[in-house]
């Protein structure tokens, strides 16, 4: 039996995906934190542990504490890219279970869109002085090309098709069209055609890096959010029903001789998390899986054990991932995902937030009687070096 020693009790997702340069990332963090604490029925003074990906500059763990006006007993600035927040949730559970903390605050804020940072379709991978970057930078590999290389190998080994990958894009768009914040995001970011999409729409969209098309790539938005995680004693007195953290897993992967690029670190973090939770993938109602690109989800559905390696293509066919097909396995990214709702660079926190909404019954694409969810973040780059964080969540 899993240990119910920490629960998500407060959530908030910043609504705007385009702050037009008028709000800072720090302000998004603080506003989101305040709203998430209100959601829980808590206040700043209840917080004794903070988790932030340290993207605010040097000594971030200190400066963010002062900015919030907190004197926490635990500070964790783990940064493993977009999966940082799954790592934070895992650490918060550990820190609460050990008695070091009672109320953990996770924060994220980014103005990637306002800064015109190229994340989704044309950004450069690497750069800087790390030795790995110093070996790769001359190639002109873009972020999407890094993921596209995984897709090519997946197609080569297993016969996966672009039409099968497109299933992931159209399922998330279906969910996005039901989420007013996601629709407004697509309007603000000037998407050309804001509607439910078909497989043909995806495969006929412009090729960005073979074999990935435009509609298989995440958007580049502003945004942020916060999550409050608390001990069972605190959770019992919060405003909303607790969403228990039942299992956690963390893993990394990087290029090595003879390594299989079609298997991600998620194969290891998933096994840990499901094992700790004592449940199987077949029991999961909601799959919040980091959809930086279509291929990310395809690989992760396999790695998390929803189907066998190489069988993901056939498995997703026929709209299986939609929220209104509950008998067929989990609903995917019911907020609209990074493909169609929100991707400010590190969207791992939104995976936790939407999973919690589903288990509370608050989603725009609510799966009836959803009991168990997985939130899986992939940080870094799937086709080279990345960090995987898996969180299994369940309601009372």
């Amino acid at each position: 039996m899993n240990q119910r020693d920490a629960a998500i009790v407060g959530i908030h997702e910043h609504q705007s995906r385009d702050v037009e340069g008028k709000v800072s990332a720090l302000q998004i963090k603080a506003e989101s934190a305040a709203r998430a604490l209100e959601d829980a029925g808590l206040s700043w003074s209840d917080v004794d542990a903070i988790y932030d990906a340290g993207d605010g500059g040097g000594m971030n763990g200190l400066t963010i504490a002062e900015y919030f006006g907190l004197k926490p007993a635990v500070i964790d600035t783990t940064n493993v890219g977009g999966s940082s927040y799954e790592f934070h949730a895992a650490h918060a559970k550990r820190d609460i279970a050990s008695g070091k903390a009672n109320v953990a605050l996770l924060t994220y804020g980014s103005t990637a869109h306002s800064n015109a940072r190229a994340i989704g379709v044309g950004g450069r991978g690497g750069g800087g002085h790390h030795p790995a970057d110093n070996m790769d930078m001359f190639t002109g590999m873009t972020l999407v090309a890094n993921y596209a290389m995984v897709a090519h190998r997946h197609m080569h080994e297993y016969g996966t098709t672009s039409e099968q990958l497109a299933e992931i894009s159209i399922a998330t768009r279906c969910h996005a069209m039901r989420n007013p914040d996601a629709v407004r995001a697509m309007e603000d970011l000037e998407f050309l055609d804001i509607r439910e999409t078909t497989i043909d729409d995806v495969t006929n969209s412009r090729m960005i890096a073979d074999p990935l098309h435009l509609l298989e790539c995440c958007m580049i938005s502003d945004g942020g959010g916060a999550v409050v995680i608390a001990s069972p004693e605190v959770a019992r007195n919060c405003s909303k029903s607790p969403v228990w953290i039942l299992g956690t897993g963390e893993a990394t992967k990087y290029p090595q001789t003879s390594a299989d690029i079609t298997t991600s670190a998620g194969a290891y973090s998933g096994t840990q998390a499901f094992g700790e939770a004592g449940i199987s993938p077949a029991e999961i109602d909601i799959a919040m899986i980091y959809d930086s690109f279509s291929i990310t989800v395809m690989v992760l559905l396999e790695d998390l054990g929803f189907c066998q390696k190489g069988e993901g293509g056939a498995w997703v066919e026929g709209g299986r991932l939609r929220f209104d097909r509950p008998g067929d396995g989990p609903a995917l990214n019911t907020d609209g995902g990074g493909l169609s709702s929100n991707h400010p660079g590190m969207r791992g926190i939104f995976l936790l937030i939407e999973a919690a909404r589903q288990l509370r019954g608050e989603s725009c694409s609510q799966v009836s009687d959803a009991k168990l969810a997985v939130a899986h973040g992939n940080g870094g780059m799937l086709g080279s070096r990345h960090a995987a964080g898996t969180i299994i969540l369940g309601r009372d």
Binding site: F138, G140, A145, H156, I208, L212
Partner: protein, 138 residues
């Protein structure tokens, strides 16, 4: 107005500077541990297989296989946006290391680059370093 140029590695980066120095002599090098035979790539000062750290530089013959690739059609980089479409690929060298590079000297990278194809090293010359690229073998 200068033409934008390919971004080049820093020749003073502490772990990779010997690798890049060797490219001046058109040598593609990798490291192997004398004690545990672990192949180390990208270059480092320490062995990841054992704690002895007696690494020896080895010379690759420059032949390999395309493990996987993509054709970049959109880039915002001032140099690469003028080069699209171009192929980036993970090249599995015959000696073991897997390195990221470009496959060049193909008419249409979408049609002419394939997973599993044999490739050979070709050097792109620059002042401070030479850049290891690959072309279809033979």
């Amino acid at each position: 107005m200068n033409e934008p140029t390919r971004p080049l590695p820093h020749t003073n980066e502490m772990d990779t500077r010997e690798f890049w120095a060797a490219t001046k002599d058109k040598e593609l090098r990798y490291q192997q541990c004398d004690d545990c035979n672990t192949v180390v790539f990208y270059p480092r000062r320490h062995c990841m297989g054992c704690t002895s750290g007696n690494l020896t530089w080895k010379l690759s013959k420059g032949f390999g296989t395309v493990y996987t690739y993509s054709v970049v059609r959109q880039s915002y980089h001032p140099f690469f946006r003028g080069k699209v479409p171009y192929a980036v690929a993970w090249i599995e060298l015959d000696e073991g290391p897997r390195m990221l590079s470009n496959v060049i000297e193909v008419d249409d990278p979408s049609a002419d680059v394939q997973i599993g194809m044999k490739v050979e090293l070709v050097w792109e010359e620059h002042e401070e370093v030479n850049i290891p690229l690959f072309r279809p073998a033979g």
